[in-house]
């Protein structure tokens, strides 16, 4: 029983950064912007979170720093693609490359240092309840944030007027502009929100998942988050499901390696990446369905006539 609970807890820990980054990117893509820089923003959040936590000794300050760094870094992307109308694919890639380089440089002195870890929730009485106690009341704070974020984004996108406006921009920025909707302003806010989420996801990696700084510690999670958004057909609850499936794959291969299953460890390590490809193939096969779900203006640059 305890083993099951432990496995479930580790799955949740592995799924949380994927979920947060993907939910952020989902909002960005719903506004019609494709930011391929998730990996870069995430690693910046990871290095910033670790650094601030390590230097101040407070993981909470680390958490805030992770969010702030992710948001500031995404602003770079926003200025380029929204104000200068650069190619979103190329700009997103360059954001990732820059983030990987910058974080490596910033983190040189952090390598091998012990970091601060965010404490798990501990509510006297509740957390001690067998089985469900730790699952519901004993996890790290970012886990709860991730669930709240998912619910909040669902509510925002589909129940509020602002969310409707955001979706309309993703469907047709020309129509939205003709109606007087401030396309660029909405997209700026969406991109920054996505950056803050990616930063938070990175912070989870270096403040909860493995409280230390390792270069390239995101290990492609930003890209998997991007794939999750496609997999989820741009729907928040499906992102939640997808993140937990991937969390399970990630943890599963780690456990398989630990149990010494007679399969090369490299093959097991490549499972999350192979699973991403398989999942993408399965979800994209139906071209018609994909077109129906994809925000129609996704990735198109927008320059209003004035």
């Amino acid at each position: 029983m305890d083993i099951t609970v432990n496995i479930l807890l580790t799955i949740a820990t592995a799924a949380t950064p994927l979920l947060i980054a993907a939910i952020g990117e989902l909002v960005v893509e719903r506004s019609g912007v494709l930011n391929l820089g998730v990996e870069g923003m995430m690693i910046m959040g990871a290095v910033g979170g670790f650094g601030a936590g390590y230097l101040t000794g407070s993981p909470w300050i680390g958490l805030l720093a992770a969010i702030a760094l992710g948001a500031v870094f995404s602003l770079l992307f926003a200025v380029m693609t929204l104000s200068l109308a650069t190619n979103q694919v190329a700009t997103g890639l360059s954001l990732t490359l820059l983030g990987l380089g910058l974080s490596g440089m910033m983190g040189t002195s952090f390598v091998g240092q012990p970091g601060a870890r965010l404490p798990n929730l501990d509510i006297p009485g509740l957390t001690a309840i067998p089985v469900i106690g730790r699952l519901l009341f004993g996890q790290d704070p970012i886990f709860y944030i991730s669930i709240a974020l998912t619910v909040a984004v669902m509510w925002f996108l589909f129940k509020t007027r602002t969310g409707l406006t955001l979706r309309s921009i993703g469907d047709s920025h020309t129509s939205a502009h003709a109606l007087g909707i401030k396309v660029i302003r909405y997209r700026y806010l969406a991109v920054i929100f996505g950056g803050a989420c990616a930063g938070l996801a990175g912070g989870h990696l270096s403040l909860v998942y493995t409280p230390q700084w390792v270069e390239n510690m995101t290990a492609g999670r930003g890209w998997i988050a991007l794939a999750l958004v496609v997999f989820a057909s741009w729907r928040p609850w499906r992102v939640l499901a997808g993140a937990y499936i991937f969390g399970a794959v990630w943890i599963g291969q780690l456990h398989a390696q630990a149990f010494g299953i007679p399969v090369p460890s490299q093959l097991l390590s490549s499972l999350p990446y192979l699973a991403t490809i398989v999942v993408l193939v399965l979800i994209s096969r139906n071209k018609r369905l994909t077109m129906m779900n994809t925000p129609a203006s996704l990735g198109q640059p927008f320059v209003p006539d004035r």
Binding site: R161, L164, T165, R167, S168, D171, S172, T174, S175, A176, H177, A178, L179, G180, I181, R288, M291, M292, P295, A296, D305, R306
Partner: protein, 521 residues
């Protein structure tokens, strides 16, 4: 000009100017719209009508000039402000969101924040009261063009505007639907609202408008009462000179001529979520004749063009036959090699690559048919040969341009269309399929293109023209068939065809019912 006169006008525009780079789209335009009138804004394609109304609605910013609303000077910086003033707009290219419902679309342009269900109920009630029924829950992507326009109109009316701007509203309607729209507009006028009605269709302007302002090359060239003018005098004001009428001698001996393009039981499933399936289409085009295909936009014309051209080949090889041979399984290149030529609807991005030179655009449709002339050993492009051929076409079609070999995007719509049509004519094709030959083209170029299509047919080719412009089809066709919801009617010989008959077919009446409906009405 006295102050009193100003007060009488709801909208007064003085010296409004807008430039894009070196192009002056609007040049010191003056315009006044009185309370309770339908005011026409007349002009050719590219005269600056859309630019002017975009400035009135706040989506474009004028370089200079003044706008007075109820005698008060205003600066309309955004559509939200225009709406607050009481200006409503029905766009030519609808500003709708296909993935959202009609009610959500309407809610997005209202700033009152009331729940969607309330807005849906209001929209439904209003739409029925004006005889423009609307289901607020339907997804816009699933609706016909006419229904989409209803959403635009209802959305506009819900804002209770004083001035309603309609940009080329009838271009997407059947004649019967247009009549219905005119009734609505007259009712709005009787309620004291003003309407700025943009069109290049003279008959309808004469029919419903009280006054007209005529634009040409961005300048106001006259104000008039359209009811006192003739269509010819209005056309002269619009174009600046008399447009040469298209000459069409009746086709001779068509019945016995060889069928060059045959379409047999052509069907196609919808390729994208919002596209139209083709249902059992049959048509024969013989040497020497021009067949027109009428229909409201979005009834399968684009899908039909893709299928006939081979951009999307068919399973059944016999469903498209060119010069007596099966072509259904061939690609567009294979069909070109059989002697067919194609001109698609969109010029930039389909018929031509915008950022490429005209000579390169020549290669686009002719790299295979004229492979020996234009492409040398090892796949090397003979740039001298394509340049020379492009110049030949430019000369033959009188293409006006600013550089010897400019990018396609640098040409005006009319000149680029002349080049694209000329590119195909240059091959002397035996089958020519054209989708919207003169859409967005100025009158002079349109006449030129129409004349060349007739001449191509009379020289022994089969010409198939798909068009939304009924005037055009009546001008050039020997017979007209109608496409509705992916089905094609039997072609009506031009001597039997009338606007009413074709209009009913466009609205979805069966071929047999058209006669019947006319007799009983």
């Amino acid at each position: 000009m006295s102050a009193n006169q100003d007060d009488a006008n709801l909208l007064e525009v003085r010296g409004l100017t807008k430039t894009f780079g070196t192009l002056t789209a609007c040049d010191h335009v003056d315009l006044s719209v009185a309370n309770g009138e339908i005011h026409a804004l007349l002009g050719e394609n590219g005269a600056g009508k859309s630019t002017l109304v975009k400035m009135l609605f706040g989506t474009l910013e004028p370089n200079s000039g003044e706008i007075f609303w109820n005698g008060r000077a205003v600066t309309i910086t955004n559509p939200g402000f225009a709406k607050k003033l009481g200006i409503g707009m029905v766009f030519q290219h609808f500003s709708l969101f296909e993935a959202l419902t009609a009610a959500e679309n309407i809610a997005l342009s209202l700033d009152d924040g009331s729940p969607i269900s309330t807005i849906a109920a209001k929209a439904r009630a209003l739409s029925y009261s004006y005889g423009l029924p609307l289901d607020p829950q339907s997804l816009v992507g699933d609706l016909s063009v006419g229904e989409r326009q209803r959403i635009e109109i209802i959305r506009c009316l819900l804002q209770t505007p004083q001035l309603i701007i309609l940009d080329e509203p009838t271009s997407v309607l059947t004649p019967q639907e247009a009549d219905k729209l005119f009734e609505t507009l007259e009712r709005l006028r009787s309620e004291g609202k003003s309407i700025l009605y943009i069109s290049h269709r003279l008959e309808e302007v004469k029919r419903i408008c009280d006054r007209a302002t005529v634009l040409r090359h961005g300048k106001v060239v006259g104000h008039c009462n359209p009811r006192k003018e003739t269509a010819a005098s209005l056309a002269r004001m619009m174009v600046g000179n008399d447009v040469e009428a298209v000459v069409r001698a009746p086709a001779q001996g068509i019945e016995t001529a060889q069928p060059l393009l045959e379409i047999r039981a052509l069907s196609r499933k919808p390729a994208t979520p919002f596209s139209i399936p083709l249902r059992n289409i049959n048509l024969t085009v013989r040497a020497g004749e021009v067949i027109g295909i009428a229909g409201v936009a979005g009834n399968g014309q684009g899908e039909f063009f893709e299928s006939v051209s081979g951009e999307v080949p068919q399973q059944d090889a016999a469903s498209v036959r060119i010069r007596g041979k099966d072509a259904g399984g061939l690609s567009i290149t294979g069909r070109r090699l059989m002697g067919a030529a194609f001109v698609p609807e969109e010029r930039l991005g389909h018929g031509a690559a915008p950022r490429m030179k005209l000579s390169e655009n020549l290669l686009l449709s002719r790299h295979a048919t004229d492979g020996k002339v234009f492409v040398g050993a090892g796949g090397m492009v003979k740039s001298d040969a394509i340049y020379a051929a492009a110049q030949r076409i430019i000369k033959a079609m009188d293409v006006r341009k600013s550089a010897p070999d400019p990018e396609a995007a640098a040409l005006s719509g009319g000149n680029l269309q002349k080049f694209i049509v000329g590119r195909e004519l240059d091959r002397r094709p035996s089958v020519m399929v054209v989708n919207q030959p003169t859409w967005g083209v100025d009158a002079g170029a349109a006449a030129h293109i129409r004349q060349t299509l007739i001449e191509l047919a009379r020289s022994g080719s089969a010409v198939l023209v798909i068009s939304q412009d009924l005037d055009e089809l009546f001008e050039i066709s020997d017979a007209i068939a109608v496409m509705h919801n992916g089905e094609l009617s039997k072609p009506l010989p031009i001597v039997e065809a009338t606007f009413e008959k074709i209009g009913l077919l466009m609205g979805g009446a069966e071929p047999g019912h058209a006669e019947h409906a006319l007799e009983t009405s």
